[in-house]
């Protein structure tokens, strides 16, 4: 797989409503401990290698993959925490408001930050244990408006809290440890939407929650999308959750994209052997694949020394010599369906 390329990006001429475009994102970290560095070895973790993505207004892009595939690193690189090694992160590409976050710094970056918000995996850790819910949710307003806005700010905080299903009259003065995980995640969502962002990045927002609470939060995110006109980038390792929320899906493996496209196409006509293995490995395998396709090895190669050519070749049942030599580039296999594989499963176009 090892998919580079940008065939899957939507033509800005044809689609004028792309709100976020990530181009050739690369994120590398120095690897190893002091010993390695003392020995003069400069190993590098290739966490994200040449990933491009775009999202249209009102769309939900699901990014799915296993641990170490770079999906969370991608999310953090988009919000510049930390900044990517290279690549562009364009907010509102092609519009007057176009900003390349990766090329912006200091107060200019701070000023565009409200347009792009994020919610995190750990609901407890996401909230400052020493501040009240009102302070936490109103923080964005407090940063960006003058003191005279007080009453207006309070009304806004109340409105957003009600929208996430928390009663401000009872909850606003309390602190995070008095809430359950699901309620903390609601408060995190309220904090993120209070500034009316264009894009909301959700990094595994339901993974830390109990099964019986997940659906509440997923439904809430859908409601918030409608209510506040949000565009979501939804990162998760859970294929069923991504299926539920996404319009478009990107499958990642070892820092690269495998397959990108319309969610129905990916789930109903998966073309990449890794996507197929993922779908076959789910506790209840997707009907579009044979359960036997889950038989890929357990050994995920190290991102310090990723395989040459296609990064999935070491576990791929279809790998041949060519896969080690030539890196597959993302190419179209259907309407809005792109795959980075030399030997994808092809489906009769319907």
């Amino acid at each position: 797989m090892a998919g580079s390329g940008d065939a899957h990006l939507r033509d800005p001429g044809a689609f004028d409503d792309v709100v976020l475009r990530v181009e050739n994102l690369v994120q590398e970290f120095p690897a190893g401990g002091t010993v390695g560095r003392l020995a003069g070895r400069r190993a590098v973790v290739h966490a994200v290698s040449d990933v491009s993505l775009d999202v249209r207004r009102g769309e939900t892009l699901g990014v799915v993959g296993e641990s170490g595939c770079g999906k969370s690193t991608t999310a953090r690189a988009i919000v510049q925490m930390p900044r990517p090694t290279s690549g562009r992160v364009l907010l509102g590409p092609g519009t007057d408001d176009e900003v390349d976050l990766a090329a912006t710094g200091g107060s200019a970056l701070r000023e565009v930050r409200p347009r792009l918000q994020m919610i995190f995996q750990d609901p407890i850790s996401s909230l400052n244990p020493r501040r009240s819910v009102r302070d936490i949710v109103g923080e964005g307003l407090a940063v960006w408006s003058s003191a005279s806005d007080g009453p207006h700010q309070e009304a806004r905080v109340d409105e957003v809290l009600r929208a996430v299903g928390i009663d401000p009259a009872v909850a606003a003065t309390r602190r995070a440890h008095q809430f359950s995980g699901g309620q903390c995640q609601r408060i995190s969502i309220a904090r993120a939407v209070v500034l009316d962002p264009e894009v909301l990045i959700c990094d595994e927002p339901v993974s830390a929650l109990d099964v019986s609470v997940q659906a509440q939060i997923l439904n809430l995110l859908e409601d918030m999308k409608d209510r506040y006109g949000l565009t979501l980038v939804f990162i998760s390792h859970d294929l069923s959750v991504v299926r539920n929320v996404s319009d478009r899906v990107a499958v990642m493996y070892l820092g690269k994209l495998c397959e990108v496209g319309d969610a129905d196409a990916i789930y109903e006509r998966p073309a990449h052997p890794y996507t197929r293995a993922l779908l076959a490995s789910a506790p209840e395998p997707a009907p579009s694949v044979d359960p036997s396709e889950a038989a890929v090895g357990d050994e995920v190669p190290s991102p310090i020394d990723p395989p040459s050519g296609c990064r999935f070749r070491t576990r791929c049942p279809r790998a041949v010599e060519r896969c080690a030599v030539e890196e597959p580039v993302l190419r179209a296999v259907g309407d809005d369906h792109h795959v980075a594989c030399h030997f994808p499963s092809l489906w009769p176009s319907s």
Binding site: M81, R131, D167
Partner: protein
């Protein structure tokens, strides 16, 4: 918002998708214990933690010492420097509660007055340690990188320097005034406080709520003051009380070397004076009462500091995985 579920989407799911406070409170009345559980469904208010009687005893003792020290000039006490208030080395009695010393001065009055200098030294030193060490530690922990390397080097240098030598150096060259003694002990407090502040900051700076503040566009100053400081102050407040206890004892140590405040007297100095062999034999109360006052105060500070840290450490595990 609340309900956007189409009604009767699922026959068994008649309740609101988001059971929240209002829903709970508007429910039909049920059994007491069960109702309590519904309350628990939304908020976990049960702190279940008490500071305890001992803590309040400790606070009470510290309050008493503080009030006595501050109000000493107005209290109906004998002049602590008045020789011949009683006889030489009179044992404790109704007139002189703690007895008198070798010069016939009232030991009770001297113990109360001695608290003034001991507490000032302890307080100034720890405030200085908190201000400089805390700032240094928070900046190091938040910015990491070069700032951290510089600050850590400074703190290691301070830790590596023998404290007693530093105190001797300063006091011998600048003279044993209250200011010099306090500041010297303050400098010695910077490194331990700084290390703690740095460690606590490192812990919290990794947390998602700090990242969330950055994503909202908050600047460094705001993040440090609003997000980090309230959290870092918790372990630091515990340490401040412990540090004050250590400083009070350290000042006593300096007194034994003849390095404590020249004019006036602290508990340490009173103990030294009472510890002269003949005084100790003929009038042990001269040393014992200042020792008792110092012991109880240090004990109270230690206990209160420890207890406070435990109490303020909010339970964040409202739910477990």
């Amino acid at each position: 918002m609340t309900e956007q579920l189409p009604p009767d989407r699922h026959p068994r799911q008649q309740r609101d998708a988001h059971l929240h406070v209002q829903d709970i409170e508007s429910q039909t009345s049920v059994q007491g214990g069960y109702e309590a559980m519904l309350g628990g469904l939304s908020f976990d208010d049960s702190r279940g933690r008490r500071l305890g009687v001992t803590f309040w005893c400790a606070i009470g003792w510290m309050g008493l010492v503080l009030v006595a020290a501050v109000a000493a000039p107005w209290l109906p006490l004998a002049d602590p420097d008045q020789t011949g208030f009683g006889g030489r080395l009179d044992p404790p009695s109704g007139d002189a509660w703690f007895g008198t010393d070798g010069n016939g001065r009232d030991v009770f009055s001297r113990t109360v007055w001695g608290a003034r200098i001991s507490l000032v030294v302890g307080f100034v030193a720890i405030v200085m340690g908190m201000a400089f060490g805390g700032t240094l530690g928070i900046l190091a922990g938040y910015f990491r990188g070069t700032v951290d390397r510089l600050a850590s080097f400074l703190m290691f240098a301070l830790l590596a320097f023998p404290g007693l030598v530093l105190a001797l150096l300063f006091i011998a060259s600048l003279g044993p005034s209250l200011t010099v003694v306090s500041l010297t002990l303050g400098i010695l407090a910077i490194a331990p406080v700084g290390r703690l502040a740095r460690a606590a900051t490192l812990l919290y700076a990794e947390r998602e709520f700090v990242q969330a503040a950055r994503v909202l566009g908050a600047g460094h100053g705001r993040i440090i003051v609003r997000e980090l400081l309230p959290n870092v102050l918790v372990p630091m407040s515990g340490l401040a009380l412990l540090g004050m206890a250590i400083t009070v004892v350290a000042e006593g140590g300096l007194a034994f070397l003849g390095l404590s405040v020249a004019d006036g007297f602290s508990w340490g100095k009173l103990i030294v004076m009472g510890a002269a062999p003949r005084t100790l034999r003929d009038g042990p109360w001269v040393a014992m009462f200042p020792i008792g006052a110092m012991f109880l105060t240090v004990l109270a500070l230690n206990y209160a500091g420890d207890r406070l840290r435990w109490y303020l450490d909010v339970r964040e595990l409202a739910f477990e995985r």
